[in-house]
């Protein structure tokens, strides 16, 4: 038999749980969006990115970059007199959330174009939704070739991995500070970005006369890399290539140094975050990564961008911020020229982009809807990336 007191407790307990769950669902809905009542004169564009989670700096930097571009545009009169408004959703760095966010942008908010994502895996998850919805999508910095192959509505303003992998391999094999003949590779096996780069790096490194002595994998979110690193240590490589994202890479390098491994690590644009140096500290000195632009580039356009960004956000913009800015600027350029806000018309103009003068260099969109641009190699010194070399697409 249950006493009345116990029954009461049971009831209240259940009601409390129910209320707690309900409040969570509601708050979950609220923190996603920043849309709200827009007057009909504003043009809505969407951005989905990882504002929280282990790739949070990617989404935040990109969002800052896009917002700067929008401010410039609106101050100069908008698109044919109409102002542009950004709707940003957080995808937490998860593919499932990215699809939900983009579905909402396309079907509910009715944006004319979508900007995002940084991580190739997330762009791949959302691209089919934009393609089917007839809304152009520009990825600022997804480098996996498959992203734009989804369809004729999907564009990007950065170079692609067959080029980036070749740049890293060439640098590891031939640059005077490395001259590596034996490489080890550690791949994030759940990330199309990482797997794609691993393939391209291995192909080029072997073609240049090097050998890959050890191949290991990890999963995003892993905390312990000792087993992989001990294996690599036994294979005695000259250089270790890790095409991953900054959170995991920083932990991995810290653990490698603890195991007494002194080899330089080489990586790609997934390393580009101020967090990399913050987490890894001195352990990361002497490691290299390829990137879309260098903060030390003396060109006035870049230095002006850095100064304006710094004044607003009190930090030096990473490449993600610059690419976010460029993707928005290219989109606005196409929207102005298109004359209508139809997805197909904007996409047609985007495809014609030629020698657009962006922060990250001259951007031309090729037949595959990719940008053709040079890459830079950076070296980590005292926790900050320093410019080492520029490698042109033809080389």
């Amino acid at each position: 038999m249950i006493s009345p007191k116990r029954e009461f407790l049971q009831r209240t307990g259940h009601v409390a749980m129910l209320l707690a769950c309900l409040s969570l669902t509601i708050s979950g809905c609220q923190n996603g969006g920043s849309s709200g009542g827009s007057d009909s004169d504003e043009i809505l564009i969407g951005h989905y990115g990882s504002l929280t989670g282990s790739q949070a700096t990617f989404g935040i930097s990109t969002d800052n970059g896009i917002k700067m571009a929008i401010e410039e545009l609106n101050a100069a009169g908008g698109i044919n007199g109409r102002k542009v408004k950004l709707v940003t959703y957080d995808d937490k760095g998860e593919a499932r959330e990215a699809s939900t966010a983009v579905t909402r942008l396309v079907t509910k908010d009715g944006v004319v174009a979508v900007i995002g994502e940084v991580a190739s895996g997330l762009s791949l998850a959302a691209a089919p939704i934009c393609q089917d919805g007839g809304v152009p999508m520009i990825s600022p910095s997804s480098t996996n070739p498959k992203v734009t192959k989804v369809g004729d509505m999907i564009f990007r303003v950065c170079f692609i991995d067959p080029f980036q992998g070749k740049v890293c391999a060439k640098f590891a094999r031939e640059h005077e500070s490395l001259k590596a003949s034996k490489a080890a590779i550690v791949t994030d096996q759940g990330s199309p970005y990482s797997v794609g780069l691993e393939e391209e790096f291995e192909k080029s490194f072997v073609a240049l006369g090097g050998t890959v002595v050890s191949k290991q994998t990890y999963q995003a979110g892993d905390q312990d890399y000792s087993a992989q690193l001990t294996s690599i240590r036994a294979a005695e490589p000259d250089v270790i290539f890790v095409p991953g994202y900054y959170t995991e890479v920083a932990s991995m390098i810290l653990q490698a140094r603890k195991l007494g491994m002194t080899q330089p690590f080489v990586g790609a644009d997934g390393w580009d975050s101020a967090k990399l140096g913050e987490i890894a500290g001195d352990a990361i000195n002497g490691c290299f990564y390829s990137n879309h632009y260098s903060q030390e580039d003396p060109s006035p356009k870049i230095q002006d961008f850095i100064a304006r960004y710094k004044a607003k956000h009190n930090e030096i913009p990473d490449a993600l911020a610059a690419l976010g800015h460029d993707s928005a600027m290219i989109l606005f350029d196409a929207m102005k020229k298109a004359g209508s806000l139809e997805g197909a018309a904007i996409a047609a103009e985007l495809a014609k982009t030629k020698d657009f003068d962006g922060i990250t260099g001259k951007i031309s969109i090729d037949a595959e809807r990719n940008a053709v641009k040079p890459a830079v190699m950076l070296e980590m010194k005292n926790g900050a990336p320093k410019y080492v070399a520029t490698i042109q697409p033809g080389e």
Partner: protein, 319 residues
């Protein structure tokens, strides 16, 4: 040789962590016969609690976040985290599980999943822990305690025994020894085992069942908090509370409890070390691609060959 020893050291450290967490699963199962799915979230609370305490306590005591404070500060944070999680464990049992004491097992199990989701999502709120990873300030210097060199010249390799690994092993072992003493040598331990044998008979003999159950939850949660603290000592980059890494960690500790024989305290410890060894040596000698596969394959094999777990049937003392 040095690589074998290095892998062994990692396996022992990680095994201690799995064992600490597995103890919580196994104790609750022993007494209430249900799987407390919210247990891995107590580990998360332990980890994030240690972080939140450190970033507040360290500056208050006049230490920077980058310098290593004296040992007593680390001990204090460990103790506070354990007390905090013990209180949370007590509250969860009191509010969510006790009202369901006479309900069918399935109801309690589903409630446990609900509690787990609640903790994960509340933890992600911006005024609790937030949804971004954070870096744990160093509470212990992670220098190498001992370094041995093997081989000559080019192929010389080092065996590094890190401070943190030793601390993990000694803390976990001492906690497990205290546990062992509590369960097998004290009156309260006798009461716990009695409740585990037969709740109704124990109640008829005058054992305060509710108090014993509460105590079990507090004990399990304190061990989980210690595991959370040790994890952030070893891996200072803390993933956000709802990250799958925590779920996987909880799942592996649960597998450890099942492999050792769920409900059996010594089995949970054995299971923790067994899966850490399978995972680490599998990753080193075979391939790191299938690290998790080894663990779950072992689970399937054990369930096929010896469904009650390694120590499940030989030792009948359950907690």
């Amino acid at each position: 040789m040095s690589d074998f020893a290095q892998t062994l050291i990692t396996a022992i450290a990680i095994g201690s962590l799995y064992a600490l967490i597995a103890l919580g699963y196994t104790m609750v199962y022993g007494i209430l016969k249900f799987i407390n799915f919210a247990h891995s979230d107590i580990v998360v609370l332990g980890a994030w609690g240690s972080y939140s305490l450190s970033v507040r306590v360290l500056p208050a005591l006049g230490y920077g976040l980058k310098e290593v404070p004296p040992v007593w500060v680390a001990l204090m944070i460990l103790l506070l985290a354990m007390i905090f999680c013990g209180a949370i464990g007590f509250t969860i049992e009191r509010l969510a599980y006790r009202p369901l004491r006479r309900a069918p097992r399935l109801n309690v199990l589903i409630t446990a999943i609900g509690v787990s989701l609640l903790l994960q999502n509340v933890g992600q709120l911006s005024f609790v822990f937030g949804a971004s990873p954070q870096d744990m300030p160093p509470l212990l210097s992670d220098r190498a305690l001992a370094t041995f060199s093997f081989g000559e010249g080019e192929s010389a390799r080092q065996l590094v025994i890190g401070m943190v690994d030793v601390v993990i092993f000694t803390t976990a072992t001492s906690l497990m020894l205290i546990m062992q003493y509590l369960v097998f040598r004290t009156k309260l331990g006798v009461a716990m085992r009695a409740v585990s044998f037969n709740t109704d008979t124990a109640a008829l003999m005058g054992i305060p069942v509710d108090r014993v159950v509460s105590f079990t939850f507090v004990l399990g949660s304190m061990l989980a908090a210690a595991a959370g603290f040790l994890i952030v000592m070893k891996y200072p980059s803390i993933s956000q509370p709802a990250h799958t890494i925590w779920v996987l960690l909880g799942l592996k500790a649960f597998v450890a409890a099942v492999i050792g024989g769920i409900g059996n305290v010594r089995g949970a410890v054995l299971g923790g070390f067994v899966i850490a060894f399978v995972e680490q040596f599998g990753a080193f000698y075979v391939s790191s691609n299938y690290r998790d596969v080894y663990v779950f394959t072992l689970l399937i094999l054990i369930l096929l060959v010896k469904p009650s777990g390694l120590l499940g049937s030989t030792l009948r003392e359950k907690v």
